[in-house]
Amino acid sequence: MPNFDYEAPTSLSSALELLGQPGENRPLAGGTDVIDQLKSNRRNADLVVDLKRIPELLNIESNGSGLHIGSAVSCTEVHNFTAGNGGFAALAEASELVGSVHIQNRASVGGNVCNAAPSADTIPSLLIHEAVAHTASASGEREIPLIDFFAGPGQTVLEKGEILKELVLPTPSANTASAYLRFIPRNEMDIAVAGVGSLIEVDPSTNVVTKARIALASVAPTPVRAYAAEEFLEGTKIDADAIEKTADLAVGSAVPITDVRGSAEYRKELIRVLTKRTLTICLERLA
């Protein structure tokens, strides 16, 4: 473990001041990624800044501008808040998949995003729900569409001293459904070989898709959107054939590698199958 100092500021401004100081200063939310990375010397730190005493980062609420998720809100709280209210089903599903209950009780959705693993389970559901990352640093605030937030495996566009403040997801229309599925070789506690989040908005009188969002995990250096599949599906009447064609197109957006978890070819096939399944679940949810 590197030899670091620890601070737990109680206001955003003091956190930003600490993080802006010279040195390697690391935000800490749930710590389920970063503590292990520090222990195994995969990350260094001079100062760890705990964000869990800053009230505005611990807030989750729904209001006129959508769902606001403070960056330090735990997966358990995000799941409890989104499960059952329907609008953000994919996020409710994904936040319940991150590790075990003990992990979810501490791990934040914001930390899942900032850790920027291509396999991160909550990111596809945030992408299909068009999340915007609101960031803050001593020099000001930014709003970054989440799709532009990732720069590579483990890399974000955050600058030194800049943190994710909250994720804001617009409230979906009543004719919208979403779902997230990942494939792992066991039932729980594993890293996604591949994951797919799908969201569709369907005109109930014609069954024509008015909006489609499909995002993929573990098949590229960053989480990606399946734009070609989305474009095909929008304006199309949804049925089994359309779902089949959309799933084939989604595979084209996957540029996976072969590693211990699966071959590139296997991952592409998973994207096809999971796209089909998530879209089918969306249809069932709309029925």
Binding site: D5, A8, G31, T32, I35, D36, V48, H102, R106, N187
Partner: protein
Amino acid sequence: MSKKQIKTTVNGVEHEILVDSTWTLLETLRDQLKLTGTKEGCSNGNCGACTVMVDGKSSCSCLVLAPEANGREITTVEGLADHGHLTPVQDAFVDNSGLQCGFCTPGFMIATTALLNDNPHPTENEIRLKLAGNLCRCTGYDKIVRSVQDAAERLTKS
């Protein structure tokens, strides 16, 4: 090495202690407070041997920094029994042979207690899913699941 003065309540007892910023809560519990019931298995969040409650929520103490415990209430396996009287969860594990070597047991005690606080009547699937963060190399899990089911019944009756 930077030290932090923290105040934390462990099993109902308040401690004011000096901890190293880089220590985990697990190290502080075991090496500083001598509460060795909590075990270290993997040290990376996968095995659950180190499970404790932090403000009532089950957590892997190997993935919590000691200074994070400041102002929090921690419950370890030593805090479950009341003056030697085992809790219904502990009794159920004893009576159903929910353990063999016992290394995983403190983690299962905390995880099961937290699970039944949240959901007093879990199905077998829910039990297996919600306890997936606790690994056992000995029992094959069946007797653990039966212990949890029995504990749920005992708690309903009591």
